[in-house]
């Protein structure tokens, strides 16, 4: 009964989504305020219905209702509760339902938080949001029904793919979806601006928090996914240039570019057309990512069962929305008013360069990801484009970008002074050079790591140089408190980028060893020694594991114990390696087990990874910077409208 209620709620949500797409849009054309305002309650009701459907599916998973195909294929009565709840999105149907849940939540949030917004903009935005929702709800109901039943329920389910049975499953997909799908709001705002033909700094202010929020979640989601892959796959790698990973990186790059050019638009009313274009691009790339991951054109742990019908459906959605938005853009962008002027050497100029480099990086990732698919479709040749390609292409784009980041921060709006900016960055340059020498002396080759580490320190120091110099002008504390939060946000986010870069640079100094270990014989790994103390077996809730107790020693003293294991999941008859990891400072010692031999030796991969935690901590600091910027009182939603009401703007 609960299951049918969920299914029914989903059908009803589709009907409401269609109403949300049509009524406010018609109202906006007829200038009928009552019709336009239908959008808000409908958007909230649509969200509640999708949430009800989602709750029903979660309930079925929690109580192990094996009359549902979805539960049979992805659950098991002995599965721990956390994976029963998070396993709801650990499969194609459930993950699409989560996608739509986030989408309708975005719509409801716009409806509830947009009191200050002009009726016309709100109506058109929610109509577009409703249209996207209708498309994906139809996709779920027609091709991926999570509520499908079987006539003969089995006693037991087939369990969730063991690779997914990890706390990371509870965190990574929701965060990533909040980011991915969060960009739908910006897309809807952009489409609404194009439909309405009006775009100004107030528009940029309405859009800003949504861009920032989506970007924060996407940053955290990508970082979490990377850390999950790092500790669970047992290869010690944190990024594999897998098309599925690229699918999340593309909207991130476009979103980061959008964040920066929206700042120009908000402050100076310039780059309007470009801002609109990036708003469309960011969500288009999210859609492309959804297509790549969910259609089955790629095989990976993310692409659950593949079904050509689904691929064609998502492709159709993709074509309609991206094509439609770009067509709208082509038709209407020319009519948008052009913005104000600025000198090439200025904050705006620097942000234009930032956008050029970021979108170029984004384009190369798109090419590297789609080229193999295109080539296979055209010639039948199968190729793989991996790390060597992306490293060759992206490093020459990323390093100059990092070099320019603090300089851009130092330039004034409208007209800046390059020499002055460089002089004010003296400390940062000095810190970078000192770091270069220090890292070179401490760790040595590879050169790329040394250069990147030097740049990273320069970026961290440079990010705060502006704030430090402003504070030094007088009463330090009062000055620091007086600075707008968004200035802190920029500095903190840039510093986070620096920390991540340092962590990435340090990957070059890591130690990797594949060894046959004899119990009791210590093995050198970087500055530490690792020895097996014991090998034993034990049973978990739905698996059995063989684990080794390894002592990590430094100078003869045991400083930590790790327990890498090999797990065997009975339901799927599948083995999985569980790495043993200990964090020492900002670095980690990492061990993954291989095979055990008759003579008692145990194959293992042992890694020493200096500063590796900085990769993810840096991403969290970036997100924190975004959060600070989001919290800036002056830029909160509503302030723009109140300010505008106080001082009427001249006609354009």
């Amino acid at each position: 009964m609960i299951v049918e209620t969920g299914h029914f709620a989903l059908v009803l949500a589709l009907a409401l989504a269609l109403a949300q797409a049509i009524l406010p849009f018609a109202g906006a054309r007829l200038r009928d305020v009552a019709l336009m305002r239908v959008a808000q309650p409908v958007a909230v009701a649509q969200f509640l219905l999708v949430a009800l459907a989602y709750g029903a599916l979660t309930h079925a998973h929690v109580v192990s209702d094996f009359s549902l195909v979805n539960v049979i294929e992805n659950s098991h009565s002995l599965k721990p509760m956390i994976y029963k709840i998070s396993g709801v999105w650990g499969n194609h149907e459930g993950s699409m339902l989560l996608w739509v849940l986030v989408l309708s939540a975005c719509g409801a949030a716009i409806a509830l938080l947009s009191r200050a917004m002009p009726d016309l903009l709100r109506a058109d935005t929610l109509a577009v949001q409703g249209l996207i929702g209708a498309a994906f709800l139809a996709f779920i109901l027609l091709t991926s029904n999570p509520f499908a039943r079987v006539a003969d329920p089995p006693w037991q389910g087939r369990d969730l793919n063991p690779i997914l049975q990890d706390p990371g499953l509870a965190i990574h997909p929701p965060l990533l979806y909040l980011g991915y799908v969060g960009f739908s709001t910006v897309f809807s705002f952009a489409a609404a601006a194009l439909i309405g033909g009006r775009i100004d700094a107030a528009w940029a202010r309405f859009v800003r928090p949504w861009t920032l929020a989506a970007w924060i979640f996407l940053t955290l989601g990508i970082a979490m996914g990377s850390y999950w892959a790092y500790y669970t796959l047992g290869w010690g790698g944190f990024w594999f240039w897998d098309p599925v990973e690229n699918a999340s990186l593309m909207p991130w790059l476009a979103g980061t570019a959008l964040l920066h050019c929206a700042a120009v638009m908000e402050k100076r009313e310039a780059l309007k057309v470009w801002t609109i274009f990036l708003s469309i691009l960011a969500f288009s790339l999210s859609l492309l990512g959804t297509f790549l991951v969910r259609s089955g054109v790629l095989t990976s742990v993310h692409a659950f069962a593949s079904d050509p019908e689904r691929g064609v459906f998502i492709l159709a959605i993709l074509v309609v929305f991206i094509g439609g938005a770009l067509a709208l853009f082509a038709l209407r962008a020319g009519a948008l008013p052009t913005g104000s002027l600025f000198a090439p050497i200025s904050r705006e100029g620097a942000l234009v360069v930032n956008n050029l480099l970021l979108t170029t990086a984004c384009a190369t990732v798109v090419i590297g990801t789609l080229y193999p698919l295109a080539l296979e479709a055209l010639t039948g040749d199968k190729i793989s484009v991996g790390a060597p390609f992306f490293n060759t292409v992206l490093i020459p784009i990323a390093l100059p970008l990092v070099l320019l980041m603090p300089i851009g921060q130092m330039l004034a709006w409208k007209r800046g002074e390059l020499i002055g900016a460089l002089q004010r960055l003296r400390t940062a340059f000095a810190a970078g050079v000192v770091a270069l020498a220090a890292f070179g002396a401490l760790y040595g080759a590879p050169v790329l790591s040394i250069v990147s580490a030097g740049l990273a320190i320069y970026l961290v120091v440079g990010a705060f140089s502006d704030i430090a110099q402003r504070a030094a002008l007088g009463n330090v504390l009062a000055r620091l408190r007086g600075l707008p939060l968004s200035a802190w946000g920029t500095s903190v986010a840039h510093a986070g980028m620096g920390l991540s870069l340092l962590g990435l640079a340090a990957a070059g100094w890591g130690v990797e060893q594949i060894v046959a270990m004899k119990p009791g014989v210590a093995q050198d790994v970087g500055p530490y020694q690792i020895a097996i103390e014991d090998v034993a077996s034990r049973a978990g809730p739905n698996y059995a594991e063989t684990y080794a107790v390894m002592a990590v020693r430094e100078g003869g003293e045991t400083i930590a114990r790790i327990e890498p294991a090999k797990r065997f999941y009975q339901a799927r008859r599948m083995a999985r390696t569980e790495a043993g990891i200990v964090t020492l400072g900002l670095g980690q010692v990492y061990a993954a087990l291989g095979e055990q031999h008759a003579d008692g030796t145990l194959d293992a991969r042992l890694y020493y990874k200096p500063l590796v935690l900085l990769i993810w901590l840096g991403a969290m600091v970036m997100a924190l910077g975004g959060g600070l910027s989001l919290a800036d009182r002056r830029l909160r939603i509503g302030v723009a409208a109140r300010a505008r009401a106080a001082q009427p703007q001249p006609a354009e």
């Binding site: 990976s300 002027l341 199968k382 190729i383 594949i514 008859r573 083995a575 095979e595 293992a604």
Partner: protein, 146 residues
């Protein structure tokens, strides 16, 4: 600077960055892509030893030999042609005889394939799509185990 001049500067800057990117992409695509073949395709292609390749197929039953010092050798087959593979390192958890596998590496001078990474399928329902395609082409596809 005039509006026109500014626009010109912007466009030339964009073109410069774009040209650089295109150059990088072309350069990287020439040197860094890896072709994927099944053993039967490889047998027809006459690939020079040393070229990086990716081979997909099934691990032939009864061919896995574990040697000293983590050296492993096995045969990858698509039921039409076989390819002997040598590898040194740890095999993935899901590596099993009769199951799908993808190996990265290059042909040695003696015609054997020296792999530097071995990837196995992710779960019992998953078969590398490339392998499935190759098997379908050879007419030995058994259908999806659902």
């Amino acid at each position: 600077m005039t509006r026109k001049g500014k626009r010109l500067a912007l466009i030339s800057a964009a073109l410069a960055v774009l040209a650089m990117a295109v150059g990088l992409v072309l350069f990287a695509l020439r040197d860094n892509i890896v072709f994927f073949y099944s053993p039967a395709e490889l047998a027809q292609k006459h690939v020079a030893p040393g070229t990086r390749l990716r081979i997909g197929g099934l691990v032939k039953e009864g061919t896995v030999v574990r040697g000293e010092d983590r050296n492993v050798s096995f045969t990858v087959t698509d039921r039409t042609a076989d390819l002997d593979v040598t590898y040194k390192g740890l095999l993935p958890d899901l590596f099993r005889e009769g199951q799908g596998v993808v190996v990265d590496g290059a042909l040695a001078a003696n015609g054997a394939f020296r792999a530097d990474s071995v990837l196995a399928k992710h779960d019992e329902r998953y078969m590398p799509r490339d392998v499935a395609d190759a098997l379908k082409k050879q007419g030995v596809w058994q259908g999806e185990k659902q």
